[in-house]
Amino acid sequence: MTTLITTIRTVVGDALDRPSPLVKQSATVIGVGLALILLVAVPELTVTHGPSFWSSLVVIALATALAALMGRDRSFAKYVMIIPAIDVIGLGLFRAGTGGPSSLFASLIILPVVWLASGDGRRFIAYAIAGTSLSLVMPQLLGIVPNVSAIDWLRGLFTPVVFGLAAAIINELSRQSRAQIQSIKRLADDKETMLQRTVEYAAQLQDSEAKFRAADRMFRGVWAAVTEQSVIGTDQEGLIDAWNPGATKLLGPTADDAEDRMHIFDFHLPEELEAYAKELNYPPGETVLNPGFSALVENARLGKAESREWTYVRSDGTHVPVQLSVTRRLTETGETRGYLFVASDVTQAREVARLKDEFVGLISHELRTPLSSVLGYLELMRDDRENPLSEEQLQYLGVAERNAHRLLRLVGDLLFTAQVESGTFLLTDARDIELGPLVTASAESARPAADAAGITLEVGIPDAPAIVTGDPVRLAQAVDNLVSNAIKFTQRGGTVSIALHASAREATITVRDTGMGIAAEELDQLFSRFFRASTATRNAVPGVGLGLTITKAIVTAHGGQMDVESDEGVGTCFTMSLPIATPADVE
């Protein structure tokens, strides 16, 4: 492409610079040459004045040499018009040397005059006239003509005027020609610029094509590598147009079987789709042709992210539970053109969750039975009136009992969290509870522990009753957990404040301590089962990480909410919000 541009530039440039000064000068040289041949060949033609004749040849040779020089070196180009000017003088001398007014070669003057007249500008017409005039009166000026007549002087004026008219025409023609050349040059320049741009565009195109190919390769690689997720693309009606290897692995059909032939809802359990459509109030009918499919893409269509569990039906009729995310596919103008269905098989995850709950339940049950024996027989020993124990033995028995109870509590907590995780924990015995006495009781039962740890316990209960609906045993357990945690995590000399507040809509119980606090990045996981804050493990605070899980589960089951704020090294504040039973009761 670059070569082509160079070629164009060369061709156009040459055309504009041609003919070179030497070529233009050659007309004069040839004319003079012919004249010299005639002078030799025709005896009637003679050199009448030697000095003029020879000097004319020198002058013309000089002009020719100048022309050759300027043709080679472009820097003198603007002085090129000196050459025809010199020629005019040289030819004037030539005429004077070959007969003066009667010379046969006067007409040679027309050659440089034409050149002169082609100069850029009207002034060259005047130069042509002046030059002609000068060369025609040359014999008189040189004094080589004996009898100068008025006709001779007149010739020095009339002929130049005629030549001037010719020069004017030539001047105008060359001006037009120059203008044409100029516009051709401009066109050539434009063309060159366009070509340059084309070259750049071509390069850019090549670059983007390479990028596109790389992206395409990347996409194909990823598409083929996703074998654990089924990725299916459909149009707006659910007709499948993209089907990845993961979909083949999960559901059976290959991309060729499925694409443009099957619909996404062919792989769904119809009952599930119907149930969801009912939930979303989609009546089957004219407005909604396929309520099941419409329900499936409802959220995606509105641009919302949705991920929920569905049951896929494989081509062999077997079922597989999946976690399915549905998103919409957009056109360049932002309109929905279809949907993407990304599904993960959750069979294993479900099985693991079930086994985990089963395991926890089993272990807890297996632990409770021996603990029942331990506690029962310890009590028999304590109550044996026939063989009373010594004070010391009773003390030992107390330690054994306390630890057995501790184990029992732990087992109970484990069982409870297993129930919460499997969703089998429900409030079965809900009644109206006044929170004031419940919080006070919790605080009072924690007071001995607080006193022993050298911690000040502050309790703030409003006079007005705060009544919520719930299970008093579980709610007390939740508050107990918060209070005992606060005491456990606060150093000697610190303060734990328990406060109850009630508004028309909700009751809040806050437990604030001046303890070691919790790192901000750990606050999210705080309520997860078996999670223990790094401050807890670092400071060797005993526990297994179930208390807050249980507390939160209890509060959630009561329709409430748990919040926590903490500053490491400053303290922590847990807030438990519970909806008020009947707002009218509270005043």
Partner: protein, 127 residues
């Protein structure tokens, strides 16, 4: 007429618990007619001995406590036997299931032998 001692059949798959219950029953002044380790044996023992009270563990092999309960209630000959269910399960749903199956009383494990003795003694007086 001599007073017939209040009679009891005990069923629990854990021998130690079985003994613990037996001890409590004797301490309350009641008579243990049989102490067995599974539901089927419990049902046999109830049919054979016709006790006043059956103390049954809920989770047992063969027939569980609730199955025995239903079988007893369905049998006209022994339908009036009082039944106390013992369970290691703490949630109230289990209690409700036990009551639905026809049990009269429900006690959670671990139980306090002291409390069981008191409860049995009160029941004996009430009879």
């Amino acid at each position: 007429m001599t007073e017939t001692p209040y009679t009891v059949v005990i069923a629990d798959d854990d021998a130690d618990i079985r003994d613990l219950v037996s001890i409590s029953v004797r301490k309350a002044g009641l008579r243990v007619l049989a102490a067995v380790g599974d539901g089927a044996a419990a049902l046999d023992a109830i049919r054979t001995n016709r006790p006043d009270l059956a103390i049954l563990d809920i989770s047992m092999p063969e027939l569980n406590g609730m199955d025995v309960c239903r079988a007893v209630r369905a049998d006209a000959g022994i339908g009036d036997v009082r039944i106390l269910l013992l369970s290691a399960s703490v949630d109230e749903a289990a209690v409700n299931l036990g009551i639905e199956s026809g049990a009269d009383y429900f006690m959670a494990k671990p139980f306090s032998p002291r409390e069981m003795v008191e409860w049995l003694a009160v029941g004996k007086e009430a009879r």
